[in-house]
């Protein structure tokens, strides 16, 4: 796979092509601009080199010329900006229905867990042609999940989830790097992304030790920690009903509305007092320090899986804030 002296990185995801296209355009533009300036300098330097009896011609400047070389570059820059922004927008918006992989980074390894329950360390197996969304967090310092062949990079922060996605296009083994300096063995925090044909991938999935899916795992943690005593799937619970919650707006007690995404669920488990759902009392205990990052991933995956059944019991209807925003919520 790896040559001894490559000049172009492998291209193995749907975004890689569009990033390369813009890159090639920019290389051409940069080459054209630098070469024209170098040529101008060389031509001027020879044509107007100092000669006996030839005086320099004093030229004040030229506003039309100045405006030209202000406006034209600006126009070109705007083209690059829009082009780059379009790619970025796509890179940052995971498509619906992507397979999810939970990533926990720590000094100096990557721990990955598939929806189906497979766990991997410093290695990620994915099939060709499937959208894969990474939901990542760090146990210690900032890391960065970088797969050059996918032209994909996302910092992985402690204390929150960041996401990234890709769709592999070509089977092979590709580098996984940590791109944010993270201490002694930063350069050892590397791994491989193995892209497989779907059939091979299914075989790989089947070959792993049989353990329940991530969501099933999350469900058992949900029971063990006693979450289910309050978060019941009816209207009687002391905590909000979590079915169908994910991705919906939630009306908070202080009048704000937030969307229940991965970070919201994470925060609501770790420090529940931060955002109290309207109509509920802040009675949930704090789980900061009681659940590991892996358990947290499982819980998040479980709560997301509750969206699957038809939403007969939408936990929190998306009310528009009708109540006046109250300042600190003190009962």
């Amino acid at each position: 796979m790896f040559d001894t002296f490559p000049l172009w990185p492998a291209r193995a995801s749907t975004t890689a092509g569009s990033v390369d296209a813009l890159y090639i355009f920019l290389v051409a533009l940069a080459a054209f601009m630098s070469v024209s300036i170098f040529i101008m300098i060389v031509v001027f330097a020879t044509r107007f080199r100092r000669r006996k009896g030839v005086q320099a011609e004093q030229i004040e400047g030229s506003t039309p010329l100045e405006l030209t070389w202000t406006v034209i570059p600006l126009g070109i820059f705007m083209v690059i900006f829009v082009w780059g922004a379009v790619i970025y927008f796509r890179e940052r918006t995971p498509p619906r229905g992507a397979t999810e992989v939970y990533v926990v980074a720590k000094q100096w390894m990557w721990k990955l867990q598939h929806e189906e329950g497979q766990r991997e360390i410093n290695e990620l197996h994915v099939p060709v042609g499937r959208d894969v969304k990474m939901i990542m967090t760090s146990q210690d310092v900032i890391h960065s999940f970088y797969v050059p062949a996918f032209r994909m990079k996302q910092d992985v922060l402690p204390g929150r989830y960041t996401t990234a996605w890709f769709r592999a296009t070509r089977p092979g083994t590709y580098h996984l790097f940590c791109a944010e300096y993270c201490g002694t063995m930063h350069s050892g925090m590397i791994g491989q992304v193995v892209v497989m044909e779907p059939a091979q991938y299914e075989a790989w999935l089947g070959g792993g030790a049989a353990m329940g899916s991530l969501a099933a795992n999350g469900e058992s943690i949900f029971q063990q920690l006693g979450c289910s005593t309050c978060h019941r799937f009816d209207t009687q619970g002391r905590g909000p009903n979590l079915a169908g919650l994910f991705g919906k707006p939630v009306q908070l007690e202080d009048g704000r509305t937030v969307v229940a995404d991965e970070n919201y669920i994470r925060e609501s488990i770790l420090s529940p007092a931060a955002k109290i759902v309207s109509g509920f009392k802040p009675i949930m205990p704090v789980f900061q320090g009681l659940v590991s990052e892996e358990q947290l991933s499982a819980l998040v995956a479980y709560i997301k899986s509750l969206n699957q059944p038809p939403a007969g019991a939408a936990a929190t209807p998306s009310l528009l804030p009708g109540t006046k925003p109250q300042q600190p919520k003190v009962q």
Partner: protein
Amino acid sequence: MATAAITADRTNYLNQEYGIKSWLLTTDHKRIALLYLLSITFFFFIGGFFALLIRLELLTPAGDLVQSDTYNKLFTMHGQVMVFFFLIPSIPAVLGNFLVPLMIGARDLAFPRINLLSWYLYIIAGVMMLHCILTGGVDTGWTFYTPFSTAFSNTKVIEAGLAIFVAGFSSILTGLNFVVTIHRMRAPGMTWSRLPLFIWAHYATSIIQLLGTPVLAVTLVLVVLERALHLGIFDPTRGGDPLLFQHLFWFYSHPAVYIMILPSMGVVSEIVPCFCRKRIFGYKFVAMSSIGIAVFGFLVWAHHMFVAGISLYSALIFSILSYMVAVPSAIKVFNWTATMYKGSISFATPMLYAFGFIGLFTMGGLTGLFLAALGIDVHVTDTYFVIAHFHYIMVGGAVMGYLGGMHFWWPKISGRMYPEFWGKLAAMIVFIGFNLTFFPQFVLGYLGMPRRYWQYPPEFQVLNVLSTAGSTILAVGYILPMVYFLWSMRYGKIAEENPWGASGLEWMTSSPPPTFNFDHTPEVTWEAYNYENIPAPEEVAVER
């Protein structure tokens, strides 16, 4: 100092007084400039030594020359020493200190004692940094990213942070002195539109130093407090936000890039007209683009954080603003090139450096466009592409300008000419060595080699070997000028008042200038760069 070697027939700032005390207690801006020159040269070679060790380690894919922790300290201290102890003070504190009063016809900077204080602060900071280096060093990367720096690194973060804090105040005081001097100390007739572009560049630089540095200072205080007392301000496990640190840090550290490059642009704007014998093309646009860079430079900091977890929309805004700041830089390059048109061009060493600057800065600036493009930045940020890009700006740009300026004003500073042949040779060596060192890193970066890697996959080796080879050539190019500058202080040809036939008040006083710069306060009745009225020297810089 080779003060005794100066055999001028009149007293000047070098032979007015002798002895260590006359130097250490001087308030003469020219002597302080020389104090700075000595100290930053010292730190330049320390930082350069670290750079060579880094390059040697990267000669092979395996981490074999030094331990990984040592390597991490090397690149951290290379960055900190080069940024805070060489690049930021380089042109402002040496050439700026020497030239700002001379160029505007003042007897000194507005606050000479504060100027000396700023040098002492620099020295205190430098001693702290050296102590930190010698007793173990620091391994956070020059960026001090939290929570690594506050909660995980077990090296001397506090000491390095405080050293940079103190160095920051040295920089603030220099900027303060320049702003007040430029506003209040101009000679009669020296209106804003007659100011040399070097002054405009330093004015813009000073604004950044004044408004940016305090934010870095307070951020470092918070990091130090956080590390010492575990406050939690940047610690996610205590409810803090590590991204807040990045915002505060880059709010200074992005404009800091302009602290390095703007003065260099100022130098080039002096050299190019002089060796083309003509007024600079579009004076007003060049002057205003300096101010534009200073202003826009404050609005682009988060382009260092496109993959750090900032929101999609703020990324869009910072991307478009980053393109805005590229426009004034482009204007400058076009104007310098246009200045050559119909000139009468000669090729002394300073002009070679100016050519080098324009070429390398153009490439550095154009690759900046790559990084500001969001989609590309995701791939190349935190890789060697970024390393190559900012070295093209900071070394190819700032250091080239600094060396060009040193050669251009060396006759004025020392009263002696440097040897022209060796000067040209060194300029060529620097240019070739620089490109060989850093161009392969663009390729490496797009291939995906992350920065700050102590060991790397073997397929990156060929390009790394090229880069290391270039760095040794570059080292020769940097040592040469130091040798022949020292040599010229005793053996160089005695410099005339105005050896280049340059415009500007600094050339209207003797070389080296007397302590109070001018015998009579000059009165300015002409525009800047009035080369039609100045005869070109018969032969530039005679070879001995």
